[in-house]
């Protein structure tokens, strides 16, 4: 048990180290000297900046030190909550991230919630009435969902609701109404995939021997469904919830950009446009940590949901 726990913590530590290292390396993948770029500004006055000024700036940022020393200095600062200042605005990266992470998480959680609310009942129904009318309709709908790129759906919604019907104000996206369309796009995309997965999992469970056994014993159908099939289908579904959170966090960037939703995704796209690498680094690191945290929670929830895992880990049955 203790050995397993230590192994698990070591695993997390390795992943964390890797994630931070990758985020850090990202900055150094950019072509050109960041100090020179910073001094030259956005107009690209390359060659005008003197070599001394560049060296001075490099010393200030510690860019003259060896790569790994830079990494550990950066990591130390990151642990203290200092990710440096944005190249373009000069504000600390962390405070900027703090102000933007709320809307993104809100959007993702709302979309995830809607997805679960639709997908789980629909997926179960499709599994129960396999190859019937409802199943076929849902199949068509999910096919549409996985074949429509999110930016196309977004622009179509924007055109219909924003420009033709004028139900929403596309220049000011704040508040609940502004969130509806981006949420709808994200939820549509996820529902399309998730319903299929729920259906597949439930079907898989329904074809298990224990279901046949329960039917033979005369257990009521509703009881088989709710306390046997769905309970067993729970684990894979929870795993996907974690994965979908990551998809949403990433996918939100496009939707946020189109609907001008003031979140991390929009900030990421803007920062890329401004070549604000310090900011990009911070965003990537933050999002990865957030995603890791969610998946860690998902991992933890297994042992609450599934007594078998608790037993396997060396504990006793409750």
């Amino acid at each position: 048990m203790v050995k397993k726990l230590i192994f698990r913590i070591l695993h997390i530590a390795v992943v964390l180290l890797g994630v931070t290292f990758l985020s850090f390396t990202l900055l150094h993948l950019a072509p050109g000297n960041p100090a020179e770029k910073y001094l030259a500004g956005t107009d690209g006055n390359y060659g005008i900046v003197s070599q001394e000024a560049i060296r001075e700036q490099e010393r200030k940022w510690g860019l003259d030190k060896p790569f790994f020393v830079q990494y550990f200095v950066w990591l130390g600062n990151a642990c203290k909550g200092d990710l440096g200042n944005s190249y373009s605005t000069g504000h600390p990266v962390v405070s900027e991230l703090f102000s933007k992470v709320g809307p993104t998480v809100m959007l993702s959680v709302a979309a995830l919630f809607v997805t679960l609310l639709i997908s789980i009942p629909l997926g179960v129904l499709c599994a129960l009435y396999q190859d019937r009318l409802l199943d076929n309709i849902v199949r068509g709908f999910s096919f549409l969902g996985i074949s429509l790129p999110s930016f196309l759906t977004s622009l179509l919604l924007l055109y219909v609701f924003g420009l033709c019907l004028r139900w929403i104000n596309i220049t000011d996206p704040s508040g609940f109404v502004g969130m509806l369309l981006p949420m709808a796009v994200l939820a549509f995309q996820c529902t399309a995939k998730f319903t299929r997965q729920v259906r597949a999992v439930v079907l898989e469970q329904m074809n298990q021997e224990y279901v046949r056994g329960a039917v033979a014993r005369g257990v009521p159908k509703s009881r088989i469904l709710f306390s046997h099939v769905l309970r067993n289908a729970c684990l894979p579904i929870i795993t996907w919830v974690g994965l979908y959170f990551g998809i949403l966090l990433g996918g939100a960037s496009i939707v946020e950009t189109i609907f001008s939703w003031p979140g991390i995704g929009q900030l990421a796209v803007e920062s890329v446009g401004r070549q604000d690498y310090q900011m990009i680094q911070g965003i990537v690191l933050w999002m990865a940590l957030l995603y890791l945290a969610v998946n860690f929670l998902v991992d933890l929830s297994y042992s609450f949901l599934d007594p078998r895992i608790r037993v396997r880990k060396g504990g006793r049955l409750p």
């Binding site: 992943v15 990202l26 993948l29 790129p149 189109i258 890329v272």
Partner: protein, 279 residues
């Protein structure tokens, strides 16, 4: 009744094969369109005539012109070349790299396995599209960098699938028999592991083509994929969205092109999967 089943299955299979051939023909048509875009296109995709901007369909410009007076149809056709071939290239690259690493990882286990799996875990810890945006953005705008960024991110999935398949195949009796007969590791991997891992991976890859086309288009839409002068569907939509109110066709036409292409590849992938499941 049971004697009916084989015949029905055979009929279903036959029908599925016909659909598959039909879809194959569509895929082929798409590829041919992409290859022969320079011949099929009525106009030069990058030659704009500012006097003829934002025109409706005409004999000279069947799909009208964009804000710089460039022929939309020609740009769509040339865009097919960019979208389809870059996606196919990415899929091919991640397929090869991922499968090789996954098979090695699953077959040999030990340190190789630990290192490869750690790398995939770390790469998969990032929200995918966000990492793609960051990587493509940092590397700089250009189709080569986009392809590179997407390759770096997507090979992990194939490595995982190949690894888990290899792990289950490795334990089969025929592998042990082959060992006993004196086959070495290379022979076993080439003769037994790869042929058994291949079908699942090829189905996964086919199903991913559509998603990859959308991914490339998404990055281009954000202005990270290709340079704006290069005809590409995502970037055409990006340029067209400023005129969404006055001329929505500039967004809709490339959008429909993406949709049709993705639908064809997705249908093809799904039919391929069904066929493999049946046999």
């Amino acid at each position: 009744m049971s004697y009916l089943i084989p015949r029905r299955r055979a009929r279903v299979k036959k029908r599925r094969q016909i659909t598959l051939y039909l879809l194959m023909a569509l895929v082929l048509m798409l590829l041919l369109t992409a290859i022969f875009a320079p011949i099929l296109a009525p106009n030069d995709p990058s030659a704009g005539d500012i006097m003829q901007q934002q025109q409706g369909p005409s004999a000279q410009f069947p799909f009208g012109t964009d804000h710089l007076g460039r022929c939309v149809l020609s740009r769509i056709l040339y865009g097919a070349m960019t979208s389809v071939f870059s996606s196919l290239g990415i899929i091919a690259a991640v397929f090869v790299v991922g499968s090789v690493l996954g098979i090695l990882s699953g077959y040999f286990g030990g340190l190789v396995d630990t290192i490869i799996m750690r790398i995939t875990t770390i790469l998969q810890a990032f929200p995918r599209l966000l990492l793609a945006i960051a990587l493509a953005g940092v590397l700089g705008v250009g189709i080569g960098n986009t392809i590179l960024a997407l390759c770096v991110i997507y090979w992990t999935e194939y490595a995982r699938i190949a690894r888990s398949l290899t792990l289950s195949i490795k334990e089969r009796t025929y592998i042990k028999a082959a060992r006993v007969c004196g086959e070495n590791h290379v022979q076993i991997i080439l003769r037994h592991i790869i042929p058994n891992v291949f079908p699942s991976l090829i189905v996964t890859a086919t199903l991913d083509i559509g998603a990859m086309i959308m991914e490339v288009a998404a990055l281009s839409y954000l202005g990270l994929g290709v340079k704006p002068s290069m005809p590409e569907w995502g970037s055409m939509m990006n340029l067209g969205k400023q005129y969404l109110q006055s001329n929505p066709w500039l967004v809709l036409i490339p959008g429909i092109a993406i949709f049709i292409t993705v639908v064809i590849f997705n249908l093809f992938g799904e039919k391929l999967r069904d066929l493999f499941d049946l046999t």
